[in-house]
Subunit: 267 residues, 2 copies
Amino acid sequence: MQTFPEPVTEPAMMSPEVAISQASMATPAFSPLYRQIKGLILNSLRAGEWKPGELIPSEMDLAARFHVSQGTVRKAVDELAAENLLLRRQGKGTFVATHAEQQVQFRFLKLVPDSGTRGSEGPAQRDIIECKRSRASADVARALALRNGDNVLQVRRVLSFGGAPIILEDIWLPAAPFKGLSAEQLANYQGPMYALFETEFNMRMVRAEEKIRAIAATAQHEQLLKVAPGTPLLSVERVAYTYRDEPMELRRGYYRTDTHHYHNTLG
Amino acid sequence: MQTFPEPVTEPAMMSPEVAISQASMATPAFSPLYRQIKGLILNSLRAGEWKPGELIPSEMDLAARFHVSQGTVRKAVDELAAENLLLRRQGKGTFVATHAEQQVQFRFLKLVPDSGTRGSEGPAQRDIIECKRSRASADVARALALRNGDNVLQVRRVLSFGGAPIILEDIWLPAAPFKGLSAEQLANYQGPMYALFETEFNMRMVRAEEKIRAIAATAQHEQLLKVAPGTPLLSVERVAYTYRDEPMELRRGYYRTDTHHYHNTLG
DNA sequence: CAGTGGTCTAGACCACTGG
DNA sequence: CAGTGGTCTAGACCACTGC
């Protein structure tokens, strides 16, 4: 494997996808070939060459396209699959992962009922309390890598399970990429909000970081979650990132934990 | 690769390590060869053939021992390394993972200061409040797969960072495997408690599940954590498991989250 | 320098899916 | 049945460690 320009055999007429070797490099950070291939596949995902839910080319095709062996492509795809960016299905092919799949309805929601599994209480009820344009406060701007006062969309909603309000969420999104998002759209859409982001705004949330605290309910919590004054609530602040590792959503969740709990596995 | 008895070439004189193929099986759950090898390596870990921190045989040696190719051993070791049971170090070899390493001092503790990284406040101070024998209550027995009233050791301790008490922990351990554990031993030991479990009781904690809730501080919390009455605290109930997937520790932690938060990454 | 894990290849065959 | 991902092998070479 050496440095060479893309021969442009047939794959459309895009992508400067050249696998760069480090033959004569002075070892300034060695990067194996499969990682370079991984990067090229990632670029195609970022560029939208294959959209969420779609089938990507077979390993053999990708191997031919990048002029490497199937094994090398395999290792690249392995890593992307481990990061939940791709989904392998034996006999069918490799697909771009999506939030719209039934199996992983609430991939980022770790709150589960104390007894039974999620879904045992029936489908979640989602009520949009409000959806408005506003200006980013200092902390919202910092979390989303915006400037103070930049336009943001602010959504507030309540999730109920088995008829009882359990979660209150405040969500902030940069206004530009989510132009046109409305309360009606949110209310009518069936499926996870992140799936709507994918199909309507071409925004795929790939990863998130959460900071969890215990707080006392304030007046607005008491009203919307129907809890007594001062009830301890779980405060879950989440920043979600896209393919490009840009922060694209800030979400502050307030969870009732009298009948549910946040579940986490430590490897 | 077929069914065959272990030739006993040289590796000591233990282990019935036979790789079983499924040549004529009616496909009742297909298990690839590398998973069988993984199981054999796991057995050696469970049996204590290699102890935490020790070097295990090279991939070539293991391949010869199991009569498979290096690539197959590699895949087995890859999975064990991904599960944090083994640790690969290029040029040196593969080691049995341990809680005693500096890099991963608090592998299971996800509480971090709001500003700065863990350790920025200096070393943690650990005060053992009590260490006593008692009998398992119904919920403790259930969590540890014991019978009601079985003997357990109960430890209570406070962790302080930067001089301030932040965490109160109640820990339950089955009495038999941890016979001899004392408050002095806990107080004198430098390093993570799980490292002490490894070296003194041959108990390696491999995995844990946590249930997180928000609760209001009670009288004992107020006193030991020096918080005002009713302060919201994070309640973290952890069950830790060994190599054999047996629950070996129940730990109820109460975290102050006014200056710290529980950090979690969602893949 | 030898020994370790890490990468890359080429080829054979297996398990699974769908037409 | 052809096409996909999944497994297994054998061999060559590279990057890193320590003597």
